[in-house]
């Protein structure tokens, strides 16, 4: 298990290195400006956003006791996007750099709150998934409303493009805005390991083990909102990372929720760094003029996984 974690961490380092050396300017160390202003933000954001999404997925699955839980699939990503769009829509994002990630984090927190409020009842199983589907639908409806009322075609195009998720042309400012909330959110979530283990026995039993159940769910919501919201603010709609990563890691790290947190953090970074490298490599080998959007790529990779996991899980 220790060895598997080491492999993951080495993979993160190698991918960060490769990502810093590859880009539109060719392979190798580019000039200073490109390196600092383009490749460093993009690489670190891919690692950070991926780590946050992977960890958020592992925590949600543990807290909600459901292997299908994923921030995107449950509508938390959609709520984050809605929050960001509202900030964008009202022009707040143009005035304050913090408004966009702030709106996204608030949206994600609201989404988490709604889901966790269900958690007293029979949350494991179809109820939760249906609640997530409803939340997603609601968020999409409001996003569509905002789009249809968009003040001009440029805003429309910009929002649509952002919704598809991507990390190109991100600057050090993006890194400065999203980095701290993601780091704080991850730090919060990484401390929940033993509590998630206790929750695997159900909320009542966990409470008799001395676990503050409600506080744990609130902390989990807060951490997920920070990590997913800030991630969505800079990277747009990137789904399935939180679903796929814990699922891929269980054969190596076991099923105990607490044992999956650190690996999911590293695994999420590996997955998103890889996907981002693929996105950058695609125009070089495929007949396309621009990079495929990162969110599109993760969805293409992740959707078949959802089918596979759904077949294994008896709801």
């Amino acid at each position: 298990m220790k060895a598997a974690l080491r492999v993951l961490l080495v993979a993160v380092c190698v991918l960060i290195g490769v990502s810093l050396l590859v880009g539109a300017a060719g392979f190798g160390v580019p000039d200073w400006l490109i390196f600092w202003q383009i490749r460093v933000p993009r690489t670190l954001l891919a690692a950070l956003v991926g780590a946050g999404l992977g960890l958020a997925g592992a925590v949600l699955q543990g807290a909600l006791r459901n292997p299908l839980a994923d921030p995107g699939f449950l509508g938390i990503g959609g709520c984050a996007a809605l929050g960001a769009i509202l900030a964008f829509y009202w022009g707040l994002a143009a005035e304050f750099a913090i408004a966009l990630p702030g709106g996204a984090m608030l949206g994600a927190a609201a989404g988490c709150g709604v889901l966790m409020a269900f958690s007293g009842r029979a949350l494991s199983g179809p109820t939760l998934i249906l609640a997530g589907v409803a939340l997603s639908a609601l968020a999409s409806a409001f996003i569509a409303l905002a789009l249809s009322l968009a003040p001009n075609p440029f805003a429309l195009a910009e929002i649509t493009f952002w919704l598809m998720g991507g990390l190109e042309d991100r600057s050090l400012l993006h890194l400065a805005v999203a980095g701290p909330p993601i780091a704080v959110g991850c730090a919060l979530l990484l401390r929940l390991g033993r509590r998630l283990d206790a929750l695997s026995l159900g909320e009542a039993t966990a409470a008799t083990l001395g676990l503050p159940v409600r506080r744990t769910l609130v902390l989990a919501s807060l951490g997920v909102a920070l990590a997913v919201g800030a991630g969505a603010a800079v990277a747009g709609g990137i789904g399935f990372v939180g679903l796929v990563v814990p699922h891929l890691l269980r054969p190596f790290f076991g099923q105990r929720p607490g044992a999956l947190l650190l690996p999911s953090l590293a695994g999420g970074a590996v997955l998103l760094l890889t996907a981002d490298l693929l996105a950058r490599a695609a125009p070089l080998v495929l007949p396309m003029t621009s990079e495929p959007r990162l969110g599109v790529l993760t969805a293409l990779l992740g959707a078949p996984f959802l089918v596979r996991i759904a077949r294994q899980v008896a709801l």
Binding site: A204, T208, R256
Partner: protein
């Protein structure tokens, strides 16, 4: 050691327990019996401090195993038992090993709890409770889906725990088994304690609230109800 004082509870607007008082101390094995819907599970949850207004016992001294307890993930049986150490904040391997031994699953420690038989999973949950090294065990139907031999085995473990100074409060559907192992029987009906005595004395009350009657030889055997028109 543990108890309720004129405790009432309602679930979804329906009153389930009406002013129930109950006290139990070390060395007792209390069987809680009664028909379905009598409030047995609510009674146990109140003792575990899971209901509003109920005092929550120290988690290091009390372990609770809910009805049909299961683990959401495929933890190994040893990992499940180790969850019982959470209240102490340690990973006392000796306590976990001893608990696995007591519940007869020491050899299965590495097996996944979702890949063993229902009875073995039930024992793993019980081992989790023992791993806490509690003074009080609250168990909701601990032998519900075990075969007869395993029932006797587990109940004997619980009896020995009580004889060594522990307190067991267990909801037991099988009244005959309860009478054979418990030192005291609480009979609940419609949210009220209708009997609270040694099993021999409480058994007629239990029989009555099940709509059955006690054997004429005063044995602890319950007869099938006489139904008119049936030979």
């Amino acid at each position: 050691m543990i108890g309720l004082e004129r405790f009432s509870a309602s679930l979804g607007g329906r009153s389930v327990l009406h002013g129930v008082s109950f006290q139990a101390g070390p060395g007792e094995f209390v069987a809680v019996c009664g028909p379905n819907g009598a409030g047995k599970t609510t009674f146990l949850r109140a003792l575990a401090g899971l209901l509003p207004g109920a005092r929550r016992p120290d988690p290091r001294r009390m372990a609770y195993v809910e009805q049909g307890a299961r683990c959401s993930w495929g933890l190994s049986i040893a990992q499940v038992a180790a969850l019982g150490r959470i209240p102490h904040g340690d990973d006392d391997g000796a306590a976990v090993g001893e608990a696995l031994e007591m519940c007869g699953v020491a050899a299965l420690g590495a097996r996944r709890v979702d890949q063993v038989s229902g009875g073995q999973a039930r024992r793993a949950m019980l081992a989790r409770a023992f791993a806490t090294r509690p003074e009080v065990l609250l168990l909701d139907e601990p032998v519900a889906d075990l075969d007869p031999a395993a029932c006797h085995e587990i109940l004997a473990v619980l009896r020995d725990f009580a004889r060594r100074g522990g307190l067991v409060v267990a909801v037991l559907h099988a009244v005959e088994l309860a009478a054979a192992y418990a030192t005291r029987m609480v009979v609940l009906q419609d949210g009220r304690v209708v009997a609270d005595d040694v099993p021999l004395a409480a058994l007629p009350h239990a029989a009555r609230c099940f709509g059955l009657e006690l054997g004429e030889d005063r044995s602890l055997r319950l007869l099938a109800p006489r139904r008119e028109g049936v030979l």
